[in-house]
């Protein structure tokens, strides 16, 4: 068991997502930055499907009531076990009553905590990922006890996944054309692919909203469509010209034009970009 002393700003248990129920309108969910989450699991020889704890901007303070091994990946931040600093992207032995403090992220947004054998939050519709209306909670709560696996197998680290480095520079976001890309006028296509966009503070696990930098009127527009399917990484364009990038908790259908589609690795990169940092799209 792990006791939550302080949950952090938005900390939730996530695995690779809730597949197989999108036809019922159930969002996929799952880790925002799968590259970092996979690394955390790989460092512990965990199966990629093991659930991890995802923290956002400010991490959690957790008390372990059992022995285990842990690995923390993702955003640059200070991490302490019993007030002693420890390194990201490697494994650490945890003893009973140890207190882990995942601090504030300085570059990047999200950290991933993996434990040997994974977090054992309730399996709901084949996934342990938290999502409002599906799981009991959407974030971990102060004072709650979270079940983790009892596995304490020794670790032989053979992962080939490399940790990424994070910075606050404008980020290239790789995209494919979306279903409605070809319906855009020339001006909108140019704007979309040549301009930089600012990440709005209205960005979360559902979607990242973008603010175009002082664009002339009508330089970015698209008509609404008959409601059709959308998925994580879909770039929607609202009639008023604001691009929205859907993320892991997004709805399964939507009525805005789907102008671009992020690659999986681009979704991971975007998941670590902070509000007021900027991005530009690169068509692959």
């Amino acid at each position: 068991m792990i006791e939550v002393i302080t949950p952090g700003i938005y900390s939730s248990i996530q695995d690779q997502g809730r597949f197989g129920f999108r036809n019922l309108g159930v969002p996929l969910s799952g880790v925002m930055d799968s590259n970092s989450a996979n690394l955390a699991n790989a460092l512990l020889n965990n199966h990629q499907k093991c659930a991890v704890l995802e923290t956002t901007f400010v991490g959690s303070i957790l008390k372990f009531h059992q022995e285990t091994f842990i690995a923390i990946t993702g955003a640059n931040c200070s991490i302490k076990i019993n007030n002693k600093s420890i390194a990201l992207n490697t494994t650490h032995k945890i003893y009973q009553n140890d207190i882990l403090n995942i601090g504030k992220s300085t570059l990047g947004v999200r950290n991933y905590l993996a434990v040997s054998g994974g977090f054992k939050s309730d399996l709901v519709l084949n996934s342990r990922s938290f999502f409002t209306g599906i799981s009991e909670r959407q974030t971990i709560q102060k004072g709650e006890y979270i079940k983790i696996s009892k596995t304490t197998a020794p670790i032989i680290n053979r992962t080939k996944i490399k940790p990424r480095s994070f910075d606050s520079k404008p980020q290239s976001i790789k995209v494919k054309k979306g279903p409605e890309y070809d319906l855009l006028d020339k001006k909108s296509k140019e704007t979309l692919l040549q301009k930089q966009f600012n990440i709005s503070t209205l960005s979360n696990r559902m979607a990242y909203q973008l603010e175009p930098y002082s664009l002339p009127k009508n330089s970015l527009k698209a008509d609404e469509i008959i409601t059709s399917s959308v998925q994580p990484g879909t770039v929607q364009l609202t009639p008023s010209g604001n691009p929205i990038i859907l993320m892991r908790d997004c709805q399964t259908t939507g009525g805005y034009a789907r102008v671009l589609q992020l690659t999986e690795s681009a979704i991971n990169r975007l998941a670590q970009k902070r509000p007021n940092e900027s991005i530009y799209f690169t068509l692959k």
């Binding site: 597949f19 197989g20 129920f21 999108r22 036809n23 019922l24 309108g25 159930v26 969002p27 709901v124 519709l125 409002t132 209306g133 599906i134 494919k176 979306g178 279903p179 008959i226 409601t227 059709s228 399917s229 998925q231 990484g233 879909t234 709805q251 399964t252 259908t253 789907r258 589609q261 992020l262 690659t263 999986e264």
Partner: protein, 222 residues
């Protein structure tokens, strides 16, 4: 019908029908979906159907090019498929003003009495076009055009599970608590989405829904 096949990101194929919302298209989509599910289950992760589209999410590493020709072949084939037997669900709705937050406003706006509005809403047999927006949320078509109403300009932060609402040309049921911008006209005591059940929802695209009014006492008895 002439269908358009497009890649939708790295792992999906989007199949689009001409932009017409009608029964013929809906049946064609559901029939094609059934054939895909029964003929190539190993190649697909899941599918999503909407008014005029069918999205096929592929298992990791599936060859998209080959799959498109396979899908075209399946669409043309007369492969045996299950008959589509839409179910008619009779759904009790309590239109009491304590639940129906927008009923008075809507009636005033439409110059109808509350009774007339309830009558207009509960008379038709609605068709489930597809499920989306929220877990188990059925998009229902067949609303009397008198009741067409643009969504609220700013959505409510909390709408209770079971709320029956009108949005645009459609009506629907909120199967889980959620924020939402539709006009609330009533509430059903029936549960439409339960994660402890397999499958968690029972309503299928093309099913029919008929609302019938119940009193507050009947609501609480249910």
């Amino acid at each position: 019908m002439f269908l358009k096949y497009q890649y939708f990101g790295e792992g999906a194929i989007l199949i689009s029908w001409p932009n017409v919302i009608d029964q013929k298209t809906s049946f064609d989509i559901v029939r094609f979906n059934q054939k895909i599910q029964s003929l190539i289950p190993q190649l697909i992760l899941e599918t999503v159907t909407t008014y005029c589209s069918l999205t096929v999410y592929l298992t990791f590493g599936a060859d998209r090019n080959r799959l498109i020709s396979k899908l075209k072949e399946i669409y043309q084939s007369n492969a045996a498929h299950q008959k589509i037997n839409p179910t008619l669900w009779k759904v009790p709705v309590c239109y009491d003003l304590s639940f129906a937050l927008d009923l008075e406003n809507l009636a005033a706006q439409k110059k109808l009495s509350i009774e007339q509005l309830i009558d207009y809403h509960s008379k038709p047999t609605y068709t489930v076009d597809f499920l989306g927006f929220l877990p188990g949320f059925p998009y229902l078509s067949g609303l009397n055009p008198i009741l067409n109403t643009p969504r609220l300009s700013s959505p409510r932060a909390h709408i209770e599970k079971g709320s029956v609402a009108i949005g645009g040309k459609q009506t629907g049921i909120y199967p889980v608590n959620s924020p939402g911008g539709w006009h609330i006209v009533g509430k059903t005591p029936k549960s439409f989405f339960d994660v402890s059940k397999t499958p968690p929802g029972f309503i299928q695209p093309l099913d029919k829904i008929k609302f019938y009014p119940i009193s507050l006492e009947e609501f609480h008895r249910d």
